[in-house]
Symmetry: C2
Subunit: 244 residues, 2 copies
C-alpha cells in the first residue's frame, strides 16, 4: 500500500509520501514514491505515485526517458508551457504504459492500478496541483479542496480536513501532513517510513526543502508522542454521558 498527500497553499506546495511497498503481507520492501523534476528558476515538478509499483515505476521511467530523449508525440515535462500541459504529459505517460502492459496484466486478472499526484510551478503561472487517474484523466485542486490524497487515505483524512486550508503556512501544512501520516502508519502496516516531505515555495521554481524522515527522526517522534497524549487528554476532558 501507499499513502501520499499533496497540499496546494498560497505559500506554495507541500508533498508527503511514505515508502513502503508490499506484494502480499509477506513481502514488504522500501521504495521511494516521490520524484522531483526541476530546472531551478524555470520550472519544478513533484510527482508521487500509488498503485502497482511496476506501473508506477514505468510511468516515472517513461517521463525520465522523454526528458532525455524527446520524440514526436512524446514531449518532455520541460517542453510544456503550463502545469495543465504537464498533467496531460503525465496522463499520456500513464496511457503509454497502459497500451504496453494492460492486456498482459489482464491475462493474470490484475487491475491496471496506478495514480499520480503532480504538483509544481512553471514560470508565469501560480503553483498548481493535480490528481491523475489510471485512465490518464485528471482533476485540479481548487480553493475549496486544496489537497489530494492517494493510496490509504482514510485514516489520515480527518485531521487534514480540520486544519488545512489555502492560507496555512508551509510549516503548518507539513506538520499536518506528518500527523496524518502518523495516523495512517499506526493503522495500516503496509504504510511506513521513511517519509519524503518536499516543500516548494511560491515563485521560487525549485524545491525549497526535502526531508527524508525515518522512524527515529527526532521531530517526527516528538509529534507522534505529543499528539497521542493530547488526543487522550482531549478525550478525557469531554463530559461523559449521563444515561447510566
Amino acid at each position: 500500500m501507499t499513502y501520499c498527500v499533496g497540499m496546494l497553499l498560497d505559500a506554495g506546495l507541500v508533498m508527503l509520501a511514505d515508502s513502503r511497498t508490499n506484494a502480499g503481507v509477506d513481502n514488504i520492501s522500501t521504495f521511494r514514491k516521490l520524484t522531483v523534476f526541476q530546472r531551478p528558476g524555470q520550472a519544478v515538478f513533484v510527482m508521487m505515485t500509488a498503485g502497482n509499483l511496476s506501473l508506477a515505476q514505468s510511468v516515472t521511467g517513461h517521463l525520465k526517458e522523454a526528458l532525455e530523449d524527446p520524440q514526436e508525440g512524446r514531449p518532455g515535462l520541460f517542453d510544456v508551457s503550463s502545469m495543465f500541459e504537464a498533467a496531460r504529459c503525465v496522463g499520456d505517460a500513464i496511457r503509454a504504459v497502459h497500451a504496453r502492459d494492460a492486456t498482459s496484466l489482464d491475462a493474470f486478472k490484475m487491475e491496471f492500478n496506478v495514480s499520480v499526484i503532480l504538483g509544481g510551478q512553471i514560470r508565469g503561472e501560480r503553483p498548481r496541483l493535480f490528481n491523475i487517474y489510471p485512465a490518464g484523466n485528471f482533476i485540479e485542486a481548487t480553493g475549496e479542496t486544496c489537497y489530494f490524497q492517494i493510496g490509504e487515505f482514510k485514516y489520515g483524512k480527518p485531521i487534514i480536513d480540520r486544519v488545512v486550508n489555502r492560507e496555512v503556512r508551509l510549516q503548518r501544512a507539513a506538520k499536518a501532513g506528518l500527523v496524518s501520516m502518523d495516523s495512517t502508519i499506526r493503522s495500516n502496516l503496509t504504510v511506513g517510513p521513511p517519509i519524503d516531505v518536499v516543500t516548494v515555495k511560491t515563485d521560487e521554481y525549485r524545491v525549497s526543502s526535502h526531508q527524508v524522515i525515518d522512524a527515529e527522526d527526532e521531530y517526527f517522534r516528538l509529534i507522534r508522542a505529543r499528539w497521542g497524549e493530547a488526543l487522550i487528554q482531549a478525550f478525557r476532558d469531554l463530559p461523559d454521558p449521563d444515561w447510566l
Copy 2:
C-alpha cells in the same frame, strides 16, 4: 454504507450503530441496524448488521421467525446455552439466507455481502462479543482486542485504538463510540444519524440503556463541537518543523 462498533468491557457491552442506508448515492434512507433480543434476567443479545440491507433484514427476520416458531434444525436464540452457540445460531441464519439468495444475486453480479456483530450475555457466562462473517464463520473478542467494527470502519478506528480497553467504564466507552461515529459521519456521507447506542451491564442480563441519538441531540452536539475545538488546539500546540 454503515458504521457499527461493539465493545466488550469488564463492566459490560457498548454497541453503536448508525442508521443510514444507500442504494447508490441518489437513494438514501433511514433503516435501523441494531436489534435487541432479550429475556430479562436470563439472556440478552444485541445484534448489529452491515452490508446489503435485504440480506441483513433477511438474517434478522430468520432469527425472529425461529424465536416464534422453533423447528428441527433451526433453534431459536433463547434455546442456546452459551454465547458461542448463539453466534453459531446467527451464522446458521446467514447460511440459510445464502442458500436462498446467493445464486440469484450472483446472476446480477451482486456479492453476498452481510456481516454481523453479536454481543450479549447468557446467565452462567460472562458477556461475550462476536464478529460474524458472510460465510457464517466468526471470531470472538479477547482481552487484547476488545472491540469489533463493521462497515465504514477506518475513519473511526484511531480514537478507539487509543482510548478503549477492557477496563474503561461503560460511559467512557459510549463517549469513545460517539467520537468515533462523529469522525465517520464527517467523512462518509453514507453514514448518518440517528445513532442507536445500547449498553448492557455485566450480570444484569438485560439492556441497561438504549439511546436513539439524532443530529440535534444536545450531548452529541456538545461532543462534536468540543472534540473539534480540542483537536485544533492540540494541533496548534505541536511545535512546527524548523526545516524552512
